[in-house]
Assembly symmetry: C2
Homo-oligomer: 239 residues x 2
C-alpha cells in the first residue's frame, strides 16, 4: 500500500495541534506527554487518542462501555476510599463495576515496515496485545499498543451488595497496584522508544517543542506520574 504523504502530513498537523489544545484544557493525561512528544518528533509518526491507564467505575449490566452503560467515576491516579464511597450511598441504574485499565496508545505511521518495527519494540516493554488495527493511504498504518493489564470487579447490583464496604479497601488496593504497574510499563515503553526515536526528526515538531518550552515533554513518564499523584503513590510504592 502506498501512503499519500501529502494528505498524511495534513492529518499529522491536525492531530499535533489537537495535542496542545487538549493539553491546555487539561483533557490530556499529563503523564502521556513525554511519549506523545517523543513519537511525534519522528517525521513518520503521529499520535491520536491515547490513555495513560485509569481506574473507573462503570454503571452497567456488564463493565464494558455501551449505550446503556456509563462511566460514573474516573481517575488516572490511584483511587481512594472516599473516591469510591459513593457506591455505598447511591443505587446504580444497573450495577457498579470497578475497572482498571493499563495504558493504551494509538498512532499512525507511513509504512507497514515502520509499524512492525515499533510493534516489536513495544512487545518487549510489556505491550503484548498490540497490533496494526487499520490501514489507509491517507490516514496511514494505525497501531494500537495495549498491555494485558485489565481487571473488573462487580461491587453492587440494584439488589445485592456483592463486595461489602468492609472489603472494598482490599479490592481497591489490588486495583491501585495494577494501575501503577501500568504506569511502570508506560515508562518502559518510553525507554525502549527513546533508544531509537526519532529515526527522521520532524523539524517542525522539534521547533514547536522548543519554542513552547514544554518542560514536561523532556521528563520521564513515571516522574510526571509521581509528581501528579504525590504522597498517594509513594505510599503504594512502599507496600
Amino acid at each position: 500500500m502506498r501512503i499519500n504523504y501529502e494528505k498524511w502530513s495534513l492529518r499529522k498537523k491536525y492531530f499535533w495541534r489537537r495535542v496542545w489544545e487538549d493539553y491546555e484544557i487539561g483533557y490530556l493525561d499529563r503523564d502521556l506527554i513525554p511519549l506523545i512528544a517523543l513519537l511525534n518528533r519522528d517525521r513518520d509518526i503521529y499520535t491520536t487518542s491515547s490513555c495513560s491507564g485509569r481506574i473507573v467505575v462503570v454503571d452497567g449490566v456488564v463493565p464494558w462501555i455501551r449505550e446503556e452503560a456509563s462511566v460514573v467515576f474516573k481517575s488516572h491516579t490511584p483511587a481512594t476510599l472516599s473516591d469510591v464511597d459513593f457506591m455505598y450511598r447511591t443505587a446504580p441504574h444497573k450495577s457498579y463495576w470497578l475497572v482498571v485499565t493499563g495504558p493504551i496508545l494509538h498512532f499512525s505511521t507511513t509504512s507497514i515496515k515502520k509499524a512492525v518495527g515499533l510493534l516489536k519494540k513495544a512487545r518487549t516493554a510489556g505491550f503484548k496485545h498490540s497490533g496494526i488495527i487499520h490501514t489507509s493511504s491517507t490516514r496511514g498504518v494505525f497501531v494500537e499498543l495495549v498491555t494485558g493489564i485489565y481487571m473488573t470487579q462487580m461491587i453492587k447490583t440494584r439488589e445485592l451488595s456483592i463486595v461489602s464496604q468492609r472489603d472494598i479497601e482490599e479490592v481497591l488496593n489490588i486495583f491501585n497496584k495494577a494501575l501503577i504497574e501500568g504506569k511502570q510499563r508506560l515508562q518502559r515503553l518510553y525507554e525502549v522508544f527513546e533508544n531509537s526515536l526519532p529515526e527522521n526528526p520532524d523539524l517542525e515538531v522539534e521547533r514547536e517543542l522548543s519554542s513552547r518550552r514544554v518542560e514536561i515533554a523532556t521528563r520521564k513518564p513515571i516522574e510526571v506520574f509521581y509528581e501528579i499523584c504525590g504522597d498517594l503513590c509513594r505510599e503504594f510504592l512502599r507496600t
Copy 2:
C-alpha cells in the same frame, strides 16, 4: 514484504495436521471447528491456536496468567454452582479470580492486503480489538481477532471471602451470559466470513475435509455450542 510461499505452505500443512491431532485428543474446542475449517479452506490462510471463549478460575495475585498464577478450573460452556463450589471449600495460594474471556482467533495470511480485508470484516462481527500482531516472510502476516468480552471477579483472598457463597450465583449468572454473548459473536464471525471465503480454495484441504467426513465442520458454530452444552444453555437463553 514478500512471503516465501513455499515455506509458508509447509507451515500451513503442519498446523492443519495439528488441528486434527488436537481434535482427536479432545484438545480443540469443538465449536471452533466450523470456523477453523472455513478459514483453512482458503489457500492463503492457516489458523494457529484459538479459543471459542471460556470461563476459568485463576489462582493468583492478579487474574492474568503469569508464572506465579495458575488456572485451577476451566470450562468452554457455562459454569455451574457445583463447578465453582471448590472455592468455598479450599484456600487459594494467592486469590481466586473468576474470569470470562470471549473468543480469540489466530491465523496467518499471505499478504497484508488479505489480512486487512479480513480484519475489517471481523470488526463488523464485533471483534473490535483485532489487529495484525506480527509479520514474517516465512510465517506470514499474523492476525489476532478479539472481542471486548472480558470480565474478572475476585472471589476470595487467603484472608477474606470477597464474594459470599450466597452471592456467587448472581455473579456466575452474569459471567455465563457474557460467555454466551461471546459464542454468539463467534457465530456472527462465521456468517460474515462465510460470505467471502474461500477466495481461492485450497484443494488439498477441501479434499481432506470431504474424505474425513467431519460432519461438524459443515455445521454452524452456535449449533455445535448448543449441542455441547445442552439444557444448561437453553436455560440461559430463556432468561
